[in-house]
Symmetry: C2
Subunit: 466 residues, 2 copies
């Protein structure tokens, strides 16, 4: 095929440049969740703008105002809207990605400094953001550059939306710009997820939603000494632990009445999924189920409830005999289609208030819903998916699996709702990349094949009659 | 009385000097539990040595070697052994105190910088260590100085032991030095606790012990993302919360079989104890009981169990969707007389292992006992207590209450066991001083009266025929 020859060969010839570029991006610690790194998030935006300019992508950097983080008012990083091509005869595809990353400290258990991209002898490129989501966003730009260097006409008009993942104000912006900047978009492609396993590519057509809660139990006016007061006061920590223990069983069954009502049904037999790979991704064999179908169903079609931690309790090493005065438990529920976050909030609040009153404590309880997002499912028969499937076959010589994901990418729903266009999730990395975890990596082969895939997908889109 | 006139008047005339001296000591942030302040702990020892030299106290600074803290090997602060007087016709009293302090950050909720002694309009001297334990240790030295300035002969030989609270190696040292440095000690006085309330002085003849545990639940090889893995893996956090919820009810009942067996009995009616003051000390009305006797019994004669926090879980502000791979719950049990820490350890381990196996999780459990100390009771009829009671009457015009404490001061037991002498706890501060908490304070009047009390106590000792 003409494309394989010219575009793929050009991508291969630029491989070192692409890895260098990813290395540069990883070196910018654009951690959005930590006040101390805010400047670096802006720096990362600036770095992308430099690449936009170099590639002739026209752009706007949209200021979303400020946010409050750790009691500080901070400028929100800009949303970068880019436009590459404006030919009315071509289709217009919107691609989305985020340029911020999760926190990472070498003490968390990284084998190398998290903000230095290093390559292992298995050709894994290790570094924070390598797979989530710097590899993919740079992938789109690399694809443009490869077209330029190969002298191939770019097959579609590309609209680009790169931002800080789930910025406050992004939803508003997308709805506001639906009839201006986003006007004319025919379909959306988001590369911010992963293959199901480590071998077979997939297209992703569904995501779980989420509701996230903060449960605050407080009583004493200040932290107390357990020797002096232990046994005589209602300890907020005891109450909170007691309450959190009533959310979910060790086998994952959610105990909140009304939460397990969903009865969506589906066959999962044909999907390639290796439980051994999954165990490798987890780093242990501590899965709840021993079979593929139950594991996938509990990942995609059933809600789950996780307890993340406690703010305000003693969390350092060593032995401190404090009775914390105010403790804030954090947990979240992953939602599946048909679960309305508002209704889930109501059920959670009712249940926790009832259980708290059973504790007969004099402490007080406050429940806050920190964020929520509905689940999402798209139609995998849409031409957007058909084009992507053809591109996968061209690059990998295999038909993709059609998967869903356990995680939520709220912007997916926003684009679908605001633009009323089909949204495709087209992952670049593998299921064991460890996004949000230590030693996050992107395989060199996934990175390079991903750039080919992105280009091939856009050419298949262009070839589609609609 | 001769003493009142001369010694008390001298103490009064030195009041500003004494407050200045406490201010100097509080300004040295001798936090022993934090690697970053280790130098300051040494600096505080040096500051005390300066005062020893000025007052003509001969001393040895004993090097205890090193300890490991936060994975760093650190030099242990020296134990300061001082000797003031060596007259075979006088009794020899050993006084103990510690010169390190608890951690304190202004962000924890201090109204003023914790290492600056400031005085409120209620004449409270606020600052970390003011009451625990810098006020008392400087109190002993001030008493010596007042005798010198007043030209009064010091009534006893004083042996001084000032150290980092519960240093590794102190027990060994005390046993080793029992027949050398501590030889000839007739009785021991420790000022490292508080009045029961805010009005009436007390002598303390009992302490609860403690066992402190770390419960480690681990499974996944690394932290995981709840969206990707939630619902399919056994989450260590769920298991740990479930386990911790089985330790103690919100009303303080310990659920570990065998722990509530103790049946010591005692009347508490005559003790002055104001539940309103207690509520003020707690900063809320969240006590479990509404009456004096139950509250005191649960503080002194019953064991209690407190959950302090979790290491390894998400503990910052905000909303992170992590599934922590390894979480370490910290809890402790306060012991009463007749409870053997070793036996308690056995009961705790058996119970937790049984409950863990009921969880049917694939994660693994490890239980560590971090430290332990027996409870302690002394005889309040001993001449050491009788002398202290007379001194209280002289300074405060009231008979002291005889109290016990909920907390543990392991060195109390060490001195009693190693020297086989009566140990008295003679508090300087009030029940609401907030040691180990934010805005720790020592009332100016308690500080000055305490210096008088220490001197009067030593004179009463000298006047006792034994
Ligand atoms: Zn992402
Ligand atoms: Zn992510
Ligand atoms: Zn102390
Ligand atoms: Zn203390």
């Amino acid at each position: 095929k003409w494309l394989e020859k010219k575009y793929f060969n050009t991508v291969d010839s630029l491989e070192s440049l692409y890895v260098e570029r990813l290395k540069e991006a990883v070196a910018i610690p654009s951690v959005s969740g930590d006040v101390a790194y805010r400047e670096n998030v802006f720096q990362m935006g600036q770095w992308l703008i430099g690449l936009f300019q170099k590639l002739g992508i026209s752009y706007e950097a949209i200021d979303l105002g400020t946010q409050v983080l750790e009691n500080k008012t901070l400028k929100l990083p800009p949303v970068l809207l880019g436009t590459y091509g404006n030919d009315p005869k071509k289709k217009t595809i919107l691609v989305y990605g985020h340029y911020d990353v999760q926190p990472a400290l070498i003490e968390d258990g990284w084998n190398s400094p998290p903000f230095e991209l290093v390559e292992t002898d298995k050709h894994q490129l290790i570094g924070r953001g390598s797979s989530d989501d710097k590899g993919p966003i740079i992938g789109w730009l690399n694809a443009i550059e490869a077209h330029q260097k190969a002298g191939i006409e770019f097959p579609v008009n590309l609209k680009i939306c790169f931002e800080e993942s789930g910025s406050e104000g992004l939803d508003e912006l997308v709805f506001k710009e639906a009839n201006r900047y986003f006007k004319g978009v025919d379909a959306v492609c988001i590369s911010d997820n992963y293959w199901l396993g480590v071998k077979k590519p997939c297209l992703t057509y569904g995501l779980r939603g989420i509701t996230y809660y903060k449960v605050v139990v407080s009583g004493p006016g200040r932290d107390l000494h357990s020797g002096v007061f232990g046994g005589t006061v209602h300890e907020p920590m005891t109450d909170l632990i007691s309450l959190l223990s009533k959310l979910v069983t060790p086998s994952g069954k959610i105990l909140i009445p009304g939460i397990n009502d969903d009865d969506e049904n589906k066959t999962y037999e044909s999907i390639e999924f290796d439980l051994n790979e999954y165990h490798e991704a987890i780093g242990s064999k501590t899965t709840i189920h021993d079979d593929k179908i139950n594991t996938l169903q509990h990942r995609w079609r059933y809600p789950s409830c996780s307890i993340h931690g406690i703010e305000g309790a003693f969390s350092a090493s060593g032995a401190k005999t404090v009775l914390p005065a105010k403790v804030q438990g954090k947990f979240s529920i992953r939602l599946v289609p048909n679960m309305d976050p508002e209704r889930v909030n109501t059920l959670v609040e009712k249940y926790l208030n009832e259980e708290f009153s059973k504790l007969k404590t004099r402490n007080s309880l406050k429940i806050e819903s920190l964020h929520g997002a509905k689940a999402w499912v798209a139609s995998p028969d849409h031409w957007n998916y058909v084009a992507a499937a053809k591109a996968v076959e061209m690059v990998f010589n295999v038909k993709p699996d059609y998967t869903r994901e356990g995680g939520s990418i709220p912007v997916t729903l926003t684009f679908q709702d605001a633009l009323d266009k089909n949204v495709l999730l087209l992952p670049m990395g593998r299921g064991d990349d460890g996004a949000h975890s230590t030693n996050e990596k992107l395989d060199r082969s996934n990175y390079i094949s991903g750039i080919k895939l992105f280009g091939a997908y856009l050419h298949e889109i262009a070839a589609t009659k609609i």
